[in-house]
């Protein structure tokens, strides 16, 4: 029982990270109906920015932990949003109105570009940072097993909850959220009503990148090691999460992330860790067979 609880905590933490990245996929899909294949690499770039920022802070002897993490978060969000904006500007905007395949290919190109750029400028070797936040609390002690939650795990789950609440509010309650939803439904009509569609799309890319930046900082603090290739695995998993939850749906992305995190943790716990990816994708296929638009996705209705 204690063992299962520990694996549940592991799964929730991992799922929260997947969910944060998945929201970036789902938001961009919602507004332009396309997958941003460079999103995983934006996440990777943010992790590198976080490593750089942590190293700089250490060089300036800033050791207060909350201060350091906040400073790193702000830096990472700022620069990563700029990357998100640049990707939209270079790979999507010039191709708006062309065939549907063109921006898909240019986004894959962007992904390869970012990966290679980081590999060449930062080197192919892993970049570690020394442990930032150590320790945790004992939740439950049984005769043969102690359930532990580390501060990092608590921080990841808390930050994710806060961001989810903030984003739901942003999308459902604010003027920007209304514009964003309007662009999703009908961008021509939205433009006719005097809303700057290009700017809304740019802002969506930047918001998605900002969430990826938070995930990047969390991953850097949690695992302590980054390399130029982490965007690929994380991107694929998060994309799967977005599809599983129903692409285009914000709570769906979070739910998808959590489900994938939990499947991975429990499969590794009770069955063979070798086959956990097989399990994850088998469940994705099963869900899509019975609910082609994902768990919380709305089926596409042809409007006449």
């Amino acid at each position: 029982m204690a063992y299962a609880l520990q694996q549940l905590i592991n799964g929730l933490t991992l799922g929260a990270v997947y969910g944060l990245i998945a929201i970036g996929y789902t938001m961009v899909y919602g507004i332009i109906g396309m997958i941003n294949f460079a999103h995983g690499d934006i996440f990777m770039v943010s992790a590198f920015i976080a490593v750089t920022a942590f190293t700089l802070l250490a060089a300036f002897d800033i050791t207060s932990l909350p201060l350091a993490i906040t400073a790193v978060l702000i830096t990472a969000i700022f620069f990563t949003s700029a990357y998100g904006w640049a990707v939209e500007r270079m790979a999507y905007r010039p191709l708006r109105g062309s065939t549907r395949l063109a921006p898909l290919i240019s986004a894959i190109g962007m992904s390869i570009f970012l990966q290679n750029m980081v590999q060449l400028t930062q080197g192919a070797r892993v970049k570690p940072i020394p442990p930032v936040l150590e320790g945790g609390i004992e939740l439950w002690r049984t005769a043969d097993f102690t359930v532990q939650v580390s501060w990092t795990q608590i921080m990841i789950v808390l930050v994710t909850i806060v961001l989810m609440v903030a984003f739901t509010w942003l999308i459902t309650q604010t003027a920007f959220g209304r514009q964003q939803r309007a662009c999703e439904q009908d961008s021509t009509m939205t433009a006719l009503l005097g809303i700057n569609v290009d700017r809304t799309i740019s802002a969506t890319f930047m918001l998605g990148a900002a969430l990826a930046a938070v995930a990047g900082v969390m991953v850097t603090v949690y695992y302590g090691v980054v390399d130029f290739f982490i965007g690929f695995v994380a991107g694929i998993k998060a994309f799967t999460a977005a599809v599983l939850g129903g692409i285009g749906s914000l709570p769906g992305a979070m739910l998808g992330g959590l489900i994938i995190g939990l499947i991975e943790a429990f499969w590794a716990a009770y069955l063979s860790p070798e086959y956990k990816d097989v399990a994850t994708f088998a469940i994705l296929i099963l869900v899509l067979m019975f609910r082609p638009s994902g768990l919380l996705g709305r089926p596409e209705v042809e409007k006449v």
């Binding site: 892993v126 570690p128 020394p130 442990p131 302590g224 716990a269």
Partner: protein, 365 residues
Amino acid sequence: MKKTLIATAFLALGAQAPLAHADLTVAIAGPMTGQYASAGDQIRRGAEMAIADINAKGGVLGQKLKLEVGDDACDPKQAVSVANTMVNKKVVFMHGHWCSSSTIPASEVYVEADIPMATVSTNPQVTERGLKNIFRIMGRDDQQGLVAGNYIADKFKGKKVAVLDDKSAYGKGLADEMAKAMTAKGLKPTLRESITAGEKDYSGIVTKLKQAGVEVLAYGGYHTEVALILRQAQQAGLKLTVMGGDTMTNSELVTAAGANSDNVMFTFSPDPRKNPDAAPIVKRFRDAKVEPEGYVMYAYAAMQLFADAATQAKSTKFSDLEKTMRGGTFKTVIGELAFDAKGDQKQPGFVVYQWKGGQYDYAAK
């Protein structure tokens, strides 16, 4: 007509020249340029010192040694062209190449030309192809699993040991060998699992290890994953001792795993600088401002091997040299060398090291 005659005479003279002066040409080959150039530099310094020492004692069979240096930049194609050049220069012995991927194709050229070679490449395939000219003065990738497994079985008797690998050819091979050696000595692994390399989250497997009460982890794979597992184990309140292979020599492990790296042990070839018989040579290198680290002493030993074998065989002909090298024992700065039928060292030179405060040293026996 006259010109042709002169030219012919000149050519004949040229052909005579190597016979006229009686030097023996030996060669080294390795990455003298490129990203592994530091290893090539070590080989060159070791070989130069050895040849100077041998010549100072009168050379081999009364002939002085002369060194040729080949640069393959660790590129298999360039390695083959270096090999052809060396064949043309009629070298009688080759130390190299360094990268297994260069040694393997180049050795096909040397075997055709009857040139014996001593290499430090560790891939099993180097000696598994039945070539009669190749001798390995370093251990094999698959021998270290045996050493590591025996060490675990002796040192951690009665403890729960998990064997894990990263599904790579190197990692799985090493983990299988470790598990086999442990089991043979009566310590059965509690868990035998594989993980996916390149991921970041190993909390699932860490929790599984904790549940099973595992204290020792025998791991086949690279240092990156070990660092992640150790960090996540610490967060989960699990104290693990890790036994790994030569990849754990990478100091990135210390940066990434922090103080946890003190729990990492690994197998690697013995440090020749610690060989008491080699102390005078080590001192000579240090006096010449060369730190005899890495492959320096191996290159020195390779030249000693050739000099010793040629002296014992009283010949530098391939058939005599090969027979002597295969049958004899040779005292070198890296210890006594003797070879089996494949050309591998009879004593697999692997010892167990342990990280301590960012440095590694021999682990307690």
